[in-house]
Amino acid sequence: MNMQRALFALVLAGSLVAIAQPASAQLTEQAPPPRQKWSFAGPFGKYDEAQLQRGFKIYREVCSNCHSIELLSFRNLSDDGGPGFSEAQAEAVAAEYKIKDLDDQGNQIERAGRLADYFPPPFANELAAKAANGGTAPPDMSTLAKARGYQRGFPWFIFDAVTQYQEQGPDYIAAIVNGFKDPPPAGFKLPPTGHYNEYFPGHNIAMPPPLQDGQVKYDDGTPETVAQYSKDVAAFLMWAAEPHLDARKRIGFQVMVFLLVFAGMLYFTKKKVWSAVH
């Protein structure tokens, strides 16, 4: 019995230490992220291939230095409803990565990536990720766009069901990239390892401002600004988290039309059947 208590106390203590990290903050005091326009919003939404490619470029050149995206595979880059790489292009991207593997004799080797491989993580394990980042492991980005959001509160959450506002995640990510303030507002006590972010719960984020204007080169004439980067990378992360969104909305429309017609037919059948008794 005492053993259990001790263990439970230990878990509880561990979790309290954990909440003392950024996630603890009162959600209420964080500013609501500004609403962005997304090509994938609404009933006919679709990912913008060019935007996903730009976002991928940012992930590759900047985010991937600290953030893994372990559920994403190189073959996904050429999947339907994605960034629209050809298979050859996806293969070329894969070949630029070094993948840890074993050879025929069981020796550890590094070989060039293939389509079937997953994006390799920047750190060997979570402890290494923590040690290299001041004690906080950068979160994996595979599902990040669905794992973040903010409370809309009453009555907005009811309207959101009708207007299909489902982009709290990408809105939040874009806001974080844009939300750094240096120096922090007067009176805010920022720990030495932290950075002030207007949209982060509790405002003290471990991540330094990740992007500066002009940092990532675009070859399609899109403005090379942090505002643009933030949207492109958020769109890319939304695709990484929800790769079948295009198909979902396309099939959804077909299903809705079918159900509406079917319901209409049943309505008139019902009327006809019941006309005798009423």
């Binding site: 561990g14 719960p201 079948h244 809705m256 019902k270 019941w274």
Partner: protein, 408 residues
């Protein structure tokens, strides 16, 4: 109620079968000739909707189970594999996750309908109690299904809910250890939840058979709350009820499809897309929306043991409803006072749901206590007394009079 079968097969194979196993006659008397009151409104279609949803959940669930791995290191990843690499896996998973929510939406409407029209009263007490058992089974099944995702909210919901049992004096901690299969929520917990999550839907299906059986013995209640007296008061189940149920099932599917295809994560919590991590407690632990009223009741009481007792009593009390309501009149149509208390009850229940999603502080706690008090007072004070003091309106002589009289 369904009386002797009028089923007369003409096909020789069917005649042969009927002599040996009269299953055709059973289906015929239960779903074709079965007399249903002619005045049923659309609130009566939710039984059919619930049967449909149970079918959807079992079918999508069985296919999901083919791709899911119940292991703490692999569960979250296997769900993501379903979402990414299984053909139409995203559709199956969103159908199943939102299907649970639609199932609960339908069951709440079904229960409120039963309460409004007094469908639990003599001779339908057993029918009602079977319904309460079904609801309990649904809650257990839904909770365990939510844990299988093994995201942060799954893990911490499992921790919070199983810890409720630690409030039991003396044996509480032992029971919790037994439930977990260890000293914390872990792999044994996930494995047994998976096993039970697969088992319970079939238990539900079995109790549904009993529920429908009891229904077909007593016959359906109806908006007037008076029993059918002649053939003029009823219509055969097919085609009348079948086409009506069918129409509303398709309308219900429109709402369901809206959630699945356009806002599939609306009812979920973002934290459940973060893999379970026993070392990090989420900023807020919130159950799925359909448990929120009970969560609010639990938190509105400052003592843990009393809170847990209140939580379980709030569901258990439903089973005693047929005897707590002392009124001879069934339908709220003819009970002007009951009608008002009923709608107050709906407001309290929905209000508790909203409060369950709010932090337990300030005005929210006070409101939750007021609503919790009313929730119990409705059953323990209002219903027993109303039967004595309420002046009910005169009942129509028959169902057909109430329908055709209003038309004329």
């Amino acid at each position: 109620m369904s009386g002797h079968s009028t089923y007369q097969p003409t096909n020789r194979a069917l005649i042969w079968l009927e002599k040996r196993l009269p299953i055709g006659g059973l289906i015929h008397s239960s779903f074709i000739a079965y007399p249903t009151p002619r005045n049923l409104n659309y609130w009566w279609t939710f039984g059919g909707i619930l049967s449909f949803m149970l079918g959807v959940q079992i079918i999508t669930g069985i296919i999901l189970a083919m791709h899911y791995t119940p292991h703490v290191d692999l569960a979250f990843k296997s769900v993501e594999t379903i979402m990414r690499d299984v053909n139409f896996g995203w559709l199956l998973r969103y159908l199943h996750a939102n299907g649970a929510a639609m199932f609960f939406l339908a069951v709440y409407i079904h229960m409120f309908r039963g309460m409004y029209y007094g469908s639990y009263k003599e001779p339908r007490e057993v029918l009602w109690i079977l319904g309460v058992i079904l609801y309990l089974l649904m809650m257990a099944t839904g909770f365990m299904g939510y844990v299988l995702v093994w995201g942060q909210m799954s893990f911490w919901a499992a921790t919070v809910i199983t810890n409720l049992f630690s409030a039991i004096p003396v044996v509480g901690d032992t029971i919790v250890t037994w439930l977990w299969g260890g000293y914390a929520v872990g792999n044994p917990t996930l494995n047994r939840f998976y096993s039970l999550h697969y088992l319970l839907p079939f238990v539900i299906a079995g109790v549904v058979v009993l529920h429908v059986w009891a229904l077909h013995v007593a016959g359906q209640n109806n908006p007037t709350g008076i029993e059918p007296k002649s053939d003029k008061d009823t219509v055969p189940f097919t085609p009348y009820a079948t086409v009506k149920d069918g129409f509303l099932i398709v309308c219900f599917c429109l709402v369901y499809a809206w959630f699945v295809f356009y806002i599939p994560n609306y009812l979920g919590h973002p934290d459940n897309y973060i893999p379970a991590n026993p070392a990090v407690t989420p900023a807020e632990i919130v159950p799925e929306w359909y448990y929120l009223p009970f969560y609010a009741i639990l938190r509105s009481i400052p003592n843990k043991l009393l809170g847990v007792i209140a939580l379980f009593s709030s569901i258990g009390i439903l089973a005693f409803l047929p005897w707590l309501d002392t009124s001879k009149v069934r339908s709220a149509r003819y009970r002007p006072l009951y009608r008002q208390f009923f709608w107050l009850f709906v407001i309290a229940a929905v209000g508790l749901g909203w409060l369950g999603s709010k932090p337990p502080e300030g005005i929210y706690v006070i409101l939750a206590r007021v609503f919790t008090f009313y929730y119990f007072a409705f059953f323990l004070i209002v219903l027993p007394l109303l039967g004595i003091f309420e002046k009910t309106k005169p009942l129509p002589n028959s169902i057909s009079e109430s329908v055709l009289g209003a038309k004329a």
